[in-house]
């Protein structure tokens, strides 16, 4: 349920004062106080829990006066390990709408007190298309029984079709919040949908031409991409910014026996040493940013297009290499 | 001047005032104005009754009582109250001061009852009277903190507060020692003389009789009456 609230002037004043007083050392790192002044002039506050959702919301509200202010809390590192600071929790509580990914992407939801009526979870629209995960550790102590924190894969946005579905949920949530702009939101979203459809065609071309040849993934975060394009992929657990252990290389060698991949897709460029060693084994490394965080340059679409561009380049090159060993 | 003619008074019993069969008759009794007179007689001979009749607290069955221009025997109750309040000063044997008032308030009691006159003036009058009897320093004391002689002097001050034309004193020295007796008698006679007031004082003390202008024996003034018709 989404509350049709507007933030009254006093609430914004409170937010200004409290955040200013309470977050003196952390405002820059939390990125909250910078939002306040802008949001006070807008038609409400919307907080997105990850970058793709933030992007969809920004695109929906693009060029609309007095549209709600869209905020993405700053966090370092893995978004799934993020626990909001005190100021960020206050921001979430004050928001008229909090757009969530769902499917376990926000484990902090279990720890934070929010108004359920203001939450909109995009995974709810994808319930029949979720890919379950089975890689969490079970533990058991005492007679209570075993338990684990398992859920579904949540990087929906890597499948442009699911990204469209997510974007539509975001659009409708914004329309419910500010019905006056609903038509404009949907118009903006139609443009984005076209772009995502084009991206989908482009990626489909890449993988169709790949003909189901095996591919490696550095981490199991590409499930939806894999499913969408029928990629014959296998996942490792290799950190791009760390040298794999000897056991990792051994594991790789074993994998390659049954899964002779010539391309490894990373969420960011690996260490040169790792890339070189992989290359020596005939495996080309190609970064495909998962865009869970805000990219350093450009936006979601430009980052995805760059991903597509790199894949096109590497897959074409690898195709040629394979054809001409 | 006190003038009583052919007065008959019946004693009454109980709350309903039933005839007791006893009474008193006075054919004629006159005390000239400005005279200090003593009234003597044994106990129960009617001296207090006579004072009550003169003050208007008792009603005669017949006859007339006149005190100067007041026809006491024919006055209404309200008129008698005014008569006593403004015209008569009374001193009682048992002082009859009110213990819940201070000494000065006791002296000012007639003002409390009358409710007229400026308080400041009355307060000053009371202070003067107390000063005249040497009790100014006891103004704020309670009566029960004073000696008997002091209490009776306060009672005299109360009686003199309104400058009465008639002073009636019923055995005012009965409970006092010799020294205080004389002080009280001197006070009363002095007041009578200065204001040309008539003083009628009941006393058993023969030593004091020589200080009065006239002495009356009750039996020469009043005759007892007996019978069912009284």
């Amino acid at each position: 349920m989404i509350a049709r609230h507007r933030i009254a002037g006093l609430r914004w004043l409170w937010l200004c004062i409290s955040l200013t007083i309470a977050a003196c050392g952390d405002t820059e790192r939390d990125g909250v106080s910078g939002v306040v002044a802008e949001a006070s002039a807008s038609g409400g506050l919307v907080v997105a829990s990850n970058y793709p959702l933030y992007f969809f919301a920004v695109r929906a509200t693009q060029d609309i006066d007095a549209a709600p202010e869209i905020v993405l809390p700053d966090f370092d590192g893995d978004p799934t390990e993020w626990i909001p600071s005190e100021e960020q929790i206050q921001l979430l509580q004050l928001a008229d709408l909090v757009i969530l990914n769902g499917a376990g992407a926000e484990p902090w939801l279990e720890l934070v007190t929010l108004d359920r009526r203001r939450l909109s979870e995009t995974a709810a629209a994808l319930a029949d298309r979720l890919i379950p995960l089975h890689d969490s550790v079970l533990h058991q102590h005492g007679p209570e029984g075993d338990h684990s924190q398992q859920g579904s894969a949540f990087t929906f946005w890597l499948d442009p079709q699911l990204a469209i579905a997510q974007a539509q949920v975001v659009t409708e949530a914004l329309a419910l919040l500010t019905p006056a702009h609903a038509t404009r939101y949907r118009q903006n979203m139609a443009v984005l949908e076209q772009e995502l459809m084009e991206l989908d065609r482009r990626l489909a071309d890449v993988f169709t031409n790949w003909n189901d040849r095996p591919v490696l993934f550095s981490h199991p975060v590409y499930q939806y991409l894999q499913r969408r394009y029928g990629i014959n992929g296998a996942s490792l657990h290799w950190e791009p910014d760390a040298r794999p252990a000897l056991s990792g290389w051994a594991d790789l060698r074993q994998r390659l026996v049954s899964h002779p991949a010539t391309i490894m897709i990373w969420e960011q460029a690996p260490l040169p040493d790792t890339a070189a060693r992989l290359a020596s084994q005939g495996i080309v490394s190609v970064p495909f940013h998962t865009i869970g965080n805000r990219p350093t340059q450009g936006d979601f679409m430009t980052a995805m297009l760059e991903n597509a561009q790199r894949l096109e380049t590497v897959f074409r090159t690898d195709d040629q290499r394979t054809d001409n060993p | 001047m006190i003038d009583i003619q052919n007065l008959v008074f019946s004693y009454r019993n109980g709350a309903r005032g039933e005839a007791s069969g006893f009474g008193m008759r006075i054919e004629k009794f006159t005390v000239p104005k400005g005279i200090s007179a003593a009234l003597v007689g044994p106990s129960g001979s009617g001296k207090t009754t006579l004072l009550g009749l003169i003050a208007g607290t008792l009603r005669p069955s017949a006859g007339s009582i006149n005190v100067n221009e007041w026809e006491i025997s024919n006055c209404s109750e309200n008129a008698l109250v005014k008569f006593r309040l403004h015209y008569v000063g009374q001193v009682f044997q048992t002082f009859e001061l009110l213990n819940y008032l201070t000494v000065i308030e006791n002296v000012m009691l007639p003002w409390f009852l009358a409710g007229s006159g400026r308080k400041a003036e009355k307060l000053e009058r009371a202070r003067e009277l107390l000063a005249s009897v040497g009790l100014e320093s006891k103004a704020l004391s309670r009566p029960d903190a004073l000696s008997q002689g002091e209490q009776q002097r306060v009672a005299v001050c109360r009686a003199l507060f309104n400058d009465p034309a008639l002073l009636l004193a019923d055995e005012p020295t009965g409970n006092l020692d010799q020294g205080n007796k004389q002080k009280v008698v001197d006070l009363l006679r002095d007041q009578a003389r200065r204001h040309n007031s008539t003083l009628l004082m009941v006393t058993h003390d023969e030593a004091l009789l020589g200080q009065f202008d006239m002495v009356f024996d009750i039996y020469s003034v009043a005759a007892s009456l007996h019978g069912d018709s009284i």
Binding site: E110, V137 | L113
Partner: protein, 393 residues
């Protein structure tokens, strides 16, 4: 007139003991029925207002009164519970906004109410000092609790075990106070509010412990096989939720089975309310939906009936008091016969003396009335706090 008043006042002031007893008798005679009536009316008004503000309450079948008292006033020892599934099912109807309440635990006699942020909007509660709770383990406290225990943001409190011998059940959880609510003259002033999940942690349905991969936990591992780790009970469990250990907190079992003591239902209109009541009329699945206003009206009808008997008794007592006071005055007049005679001789009319007596009686009654009024107002002022503390015990 001032002479009469002065004489009568002087008399009363001089006879202090008698005057005090008379004034005290009259004060009590006027105060007791007045304060009884006011307290009953005030408490009834407060109960009624809170009940009227709460349209419907969903809870376990059984005593409607107990359900209403627990949900509205957080008053119950071992209240009956329902599963959270009842809340999920209710929400699926879309017929109302449903607000969970889990009011089972206490901290030094003060009820700990597990709920959600919707509760604060519903009751119109705002933060006077500090902020709203944000993380598990945090709580906000009512104004009266803060004042009485001298607590504020930054302080902490600990949940009390349910019984002295409860060593394997409810866990004392140290909670951080992050805010104090504005006083609103209701049971909310006398409560501690936490996220409902925090109260489930108090119950032991959720906990945090040392990471099983942490060397510190090595001594507690019984078995490690593939993806299954078995640990023994020596594994350190946290008695306090902090930012450092919060990510380790998790719940056991299905959340649908987790307990609630009640659910406040706020339907948007009469039709929705009627549909809801029809839905739960059969009391299936051990649930009942009750109207707090109706339940309390029944209770108050009984209270008013009792009040009437009490006031009748007090009225009879008052008559006896008046009779005794009259007797005292009559006897007093007898004793003062000599004094009145003196006054008469000096020049007081019968009317004056009657006025004197009347003034004395008047003073006694006026002072008694004033004292009774003052006592009634003071008692009324503090009575609500006493009443609420009784209701929340």
């Amino acid at each position: 007139m001032s002479g009469v008043l002065l004489l009568s006042w002087r008399y009363l002031a001089h006879h202090r003991a008698k005057s005090t007893i008379l004034v005290a008798s009259i004060t009590l005679m006027l105060f007791l029925p007045a304060v009884t009536r006011l307290l009953v009316e005030d408490s009834a008004a407060a109960l009624t207002a809170r009940a009227a503000q709460t349209p419907l309450v969903l809870g376990a079948s059984g005593s409607e009164l107990e359900l209403v008292l627990n949900t509205l006033y957080f008053h119950a020892e071992s209240p009956p519970v329902i599963d959270s599934r009842a809340l999920s099912d209710a929400r699926e109807t879309g017929l109302a906004n449903f607000i969970p309440i889990y009011a089972r635990f206490h901290s030094q006699g003060v009820p700990i109410v597990g709920t959600t942020l919707e509760y604060f909007d519903f009751r119109g509660l705002s933060i006077a000092n500090g902020r709203q709770m944000g993380l598990l383990g945090e709580c906000v406290i009512g104004a009266a609790v803060a004042a009485r225990r001298n607590l504020g943001p930054g302080d902490s409190l600990i949940s009390s075990p349910e019984s002295v011998f409860d060593i394997a059940g409810v866990y004392p959880l140290k909670m951080k106070i992050v805010g104090v609510l504005e006083a609103n003259g209701s049971a909310d002033d006398e409560a501690i509010f936490a996220d409902v999940r925090t109260t489930w942690i108090i119950q032991g349905l959720g906990h945090g412990h040392t990471d099983l991969d942490d060397p510190e936990a090595a001594g507690t591992i019984l078995n490690r096989r593939d993806d299954m780790i078995t640990a023994n009970a020596a594994l350190t469990q946290y008695a306090e939720i902090t930012r450092e250990n919060i990510s380790g907190f998790h719940f056991h079992g299905s959340a649908d089975r987790f307990p609630l003591t009640g659910v406040i239902a706020v339907p948007p209109d009469q039709k929705s309310a009627a549909l809801l009541r029809g839905r739960y009329q059969a009391n299936e699945a051990g649930l009942q939906l009750t109207v707090p206003g109706a339940v309390l009206a029944d209770l108050l009808a009984t209270v008013f009936a009792v009040q009437n008997y009490v006031i009748l008794g007090l009225a009879v007592l008052s008559l006896a008091t008046v009779a005794v006071i009259t007797l005292v005055f009559l006897l007093s007049q007898q004793l003062r016969k000599g004094e009145f005679q003196t006054l008469s001789r000096i020049g007081a009319s019968r009317a004056y003396i009657a006025l004197l007596i009347a003034s004395e009686i008047g003073f006694v009654f006026v002072i008694g009335f004033v004292l009774a009024t003052g006592l009634t107002l003071v008692t009324r002022n503090y009575a609500m706090q006493i009443l609420q503390s009784f209701l929340t015990l």
